[in-house]
Amino acid sequence: MVNLETHAGQLRFKNPVTVASGTFGVKDEFARFVDYRKLGAVITKTITLHPRQGNPMPRICETPAGMLNAIGLQNKGLEDFIEDKIPYFRERKIPLIVNIAGESTEEFSTLARELNRCRKDITALELNLSCPNIEAGGVRAIREQKLISRTIQAVRKETGLFIFAKLSPELGDVLETSREAVRAGANGLTLINTIRGMAVNVHSRKPQIAAGTGGLSGPAIRPIALRYVYEVKQALPKVPVIATGGITTWEDAVEFLIVGADLLAAGTANYVNPRATLDILEGITAYCREKKVKSINELRGSLVTHRRP
């Protein structure tokens, strides 16, 4: 038996495998393929205070080893989430991490306050501080108006729930913003959100995405994500990190474990292989058995450095 139990601060997960926000729906979308109870946790698509229609079409475009998206946080809003979605996870005892985004610090506060009432059914909050596809509350606004600390503090004031701050290199230096997030009251970090990119249709000369640019995800960004997780875990070893960015196979997941990641979130992989999470979980387990690793903790941060000549 391989011990996959994962601790993140005071939180305990039966295993480290989870999903990146926005790639697994908000309720039972993947239940045909995955028994959610087998996952460490489920992270929801971003929930906003009010329903959002999202961006015009086209919203997605495939790129080499990845895809661009500019969905624009289409979702049915907080009220629907509390009434219709939370009970699904509660009844099945599925550890739930709720990803939230506000157009203002006040909206983040309200979301945190309302969700705090449901805290018994929620494992943690994940703050989407780095959405590339919305104006107010998006990555540019948060960076330009220096809202990271203020937003986290506002949420902290409303809830004792564990807070993961989801960051991206677009907010500025990742190590610096990570430190800032922790100082402001975040308990953990999610690294990294998509990175803005662009593609153009050479026939129509229009951007492939109606919004002009979109967030790049998938294996194309994995080495970048890995580097940030590595650097942040080196500098802040005690801060739990959910790693996300192109994790597609168990090998990818193990790479992130070796550089110190605590949880491993498959994202775009779910679009290609709806069983990606379970395949990753089974792969990690088989790898541990083969390498005679008894506890997954032996792998975490076990990076071996090259010898200097």
Binding site: R59, P64, V272, P274
Partner: protein
């Protein structure tokens, strides 16, 4: 729903433009309905990364057929695969065309790669007219592919090299103007380029004829999760993979751009 691995039975050109892919699947063949689609992983790994959504063309026993056009990286790779190669497929996905239409006269209007799901529908349920629009003779389906409904087919080509030189929507206009007394007697089903279908809906609305359109949007997951393949309906942006790809005309609000141009 299993993520099934199938072996290719046949994969090759049927005319100057389309390829036909055939494989055997016990599970799929029993469940598939015209208008539904499958997601094909053309090759393992991340190049190309995403699956390719394709509509079903024909199901005979356990044999499943797809007609496709080799356009981009994914379909070009697909066209290079040979008998005996394996593919990963997920399906059937999505909402189908109505098979039973209460004795109404079924008018089908297809353009480009929108023809295959309509051909599937015509083979299974018959039709009153099947208007097919193509650019030129190159894309016309061989007689053996349409023998079950050959009498009902009318072709238009943009260059006049086969059938009538016209836009396919002109045939629909002519028919409706000439013979429709009670619009309730007819039912239109269409699949093709979005611009063509926008025109079909306009004409249908002028004559008060009901129908269904299958929208072809860029798609990633095929499971209603990524929200990339949206169509604007009375409910707002709606995923075409789970709530479509077939939508009734009366689900689409008039005067709105329903999809990307």
């Amino acid at each position: 729903m299993p993520d099934e691995i199938v072996t290719i039975l046949e994969n090759g050109r049927v005319n100057g433009r389309y390829y036909k892919l055939a494989f055997r699947s016990k599970g799929l063949s029993r469940k598939v309905l015209p208008g539904q689609f499958l997601e094909i992983k053309v090759r393992e790994g991340c190049d190309p990364l995403l699956r390719r959504p394709m509509s079903y063309y024909r199901v005979t026993g356990e044999r499943v057929e797809i007609l496709y056009e080799s356009l981009g990286r994914g379909t070009t790779l697909l066209a290079s695969l040979k008998k005996g190669n394996e593919l990963r497929i997920l399906g059937p996905l999505g909402r189908e065309f109505s098979g039973r239409i209460n004795g109404k006269k079924r008018i089908l209007i297809g353009g480009g790669v929108g023809v295959p799901p309509l051909a599937f529908l015509a083979e299974r349920y018959g039709c009153y007219r099947f208007f097919i629009g193509t650019k030129s003779k190159k894309e016309v389906l061989p007689a053996r592919e349409i023998h079950k409904f050959r009498e009902e087919v009318r072709y238009t080509t943009e260059d006049g090299s086969y059938g009538k030189k016209a836009l396919v929507t002109e045939l629909l206009e002519e028919l409706l103007e000439k013979e429709v007394k009670d619009p309730e007697d007819y039912f239109i089903q269409t699949c093709g380029p979005n611009r063509m279908m926008h025109r079909v809906l306009e004409i249908a609305s002028q004559h008060g004829v009901e129908g269904e359109a299958s929208w072809d949007e860029r798609m990633a997951c095929g499971m209603g999760v990524c929200l990339g393949c949206m169509v604007w309906t009375h409910k707002g942006w709606t995923p075409s993979c789970t709530e479509g790809p077939v939508f009734r005309f009366d689900e689409m609000p008039e005067g709105h751009l329903w999809t990307a141009e």
